[in-house]
Symmetry: C2
Amino acid sequence: MVKIAIDAMGGDFGPAPIMEGLVAALKQNKNFTAIAVGKKDVLLPLIPRIYDNRIEILDTEDVISMHDSATDALKRKESTIYKAIELVKNGEAQAVVSAGHSGASMSLATLRIGRIKGVSRPAIATLMPTSENQNTLVLDVGANVDCDAKNLFEFAIMGQVYAQVVLELDEPIVGLLSNGEEESKGNEATKEAYELISKAQLPNFAGNVEGSDIFKGTVDVVVCDGFIGNILLKTAEGVADTIGKILKKNLKRSLISIAGAVLMRKVFRNLKVRVDYAEYGGAPLLGVKSPVIIAHGKSNPKAIKNAIFQAIGAATSSLDEDIEHRLHKYTQK
Amino acid sequence: MVKIAIDAMGGDFGPAPIMEGLVAALKQNKNFTAIAVGKKDVLLPLIPRIYDNRIEILDTEDVISMHDSATDALKRKESTIYKAIELVKNGEAQAVVSAGHSGASMSLATLRIGRIKGVSRPAIATLMPTSENQNTLVLDVGANVDCDAKNLFEFAIMGQVYAQVVLELDEPIVGLLSNGEEESKGNEATKEAYELISKAQLPNFAGNVEGSDIFKGTVDVVVCDGFIGNILLKTAEGVADTIGKILKKNLKRSLISIAGAVLMRKVFRNLKVRVDYAEYGGAPLLGVKSPVIIAHGKSNPKAIKNAIFQAIGAATSSLDEDIEHRLHKYTQK
């Protein structure tokens, strides 16, 4: 039975939504147990007695806040995120979920759990919605701001393995984010990465793709550096938010019939489900030796539940071995 | 009276929408004349006789197509875009509008008309919609894929001058696109550009902004390199398109009442107006000695009309002198 470590205190809204998400996950999936890391007298009242035998609490007080620097995290060995990561490092848990300081989670995971052999830099992957009934995995979305071609090459492999092994796609197609589809397009790092991937004969490489392809679902995995990935993510959120606001403004102006308003509410709810990160859970940090899921600071219980399911999915898969094996195979050529 | 040169053949849909846009512009604004560059026997039938005294035709057959390489454009001296640019270079027209091969337009403008003193690289600027009643000017959106800090610094100045002189904003605020608002965020080029702009004491510099800020209207001008700008633009288009598709699918499923459908059509029309590039016209190429407006290949007559108005606005302003003066002033320090 897999055991998941959870930083129970790190989120923006404190331990309540995190513990509620954990309880929901335990209810829905009987095949895992959890270690909640946080203040015992705060966490204990949040756990229904029937789950006492499936949740351990590791009593810890210190919490790295959003205002702390990621470098401090290494020194604060009594913090919830440090302890949660140590549980995985020591083999007491198989994966970790944190809605806390994402920079701290990344640094600690990279330095304490360590990188998979062959990985230069771990990358954060996230799922983006498309107009079809599928999602696109985008990486890196923020771990590495300056990437060279080799980093992008490794991201392509790690993303493809994750899509195959955890998302269970048959032959995931990977594309390189660029300013045009032609091979000649790209900035220096992208052009060089194109060459590396082509030369290595990575299967199902679709070449360059454009920003709009992410939401069309043209490919399963899109690779970019973390600077662009972050901008991309926030641009997408910004556009969705703006369209929502414009629609609402116009609706207020023109809605006379109650029927129309009721219909629209339904449509918005459906739309929300499709673009809501809570549906996917969190973002896996790919390239470290054990699964680390970085959840949004503002995660609601549903997001935490889904992040835990992602962690279980990754921990019970051959993700880490496959990344190592695949990197070795394609770097050999 | 200002004279505008128009590549009348370069667009994806041939000369009809371009000439229709030109005629609409002539009708609405009595203070300009035009030289349409293209095949005389094709263009002449598209011009109502009452405009004969305000449209000249420069008879030219060759058209650079989307499949031609931009470097070929320099050799094809009989092409519509080459001739249109030469008209500006020789002072026979004060600005040029082209819906043709944008790479060709850029190279020809840069090499034949020439850069403004102090400009390392011209940049393409475009307006993005926000949820408020204003737009954000973003540059560079595709002219330069690899930019250093100095390029970004110059883009900040050129964008601010355009916002002030052509868009007539009082004290336009400029932001640097980054992966977070803090000064410490950014890739190498962005961090260095932040320092350059701060040291030069450029007025109304808001520091780093994020992808979502573009659509919030936090600042008036957003600066990024052309690789990111292109990805950003296409991501925004992709998200808008995807949301539209999801909404339509859901509406089809749930709309029973005709009232609701009618209301929604209104809302969509309003939304379209807000995100439709045709409302703004084209994208100015900033940093060349005379105004060059690059219109979308798929421009409809309205987009061409608005692109012509942009060209007139720029040609009758002090844009070029002000860019030179401002670059000199802030590079001096």
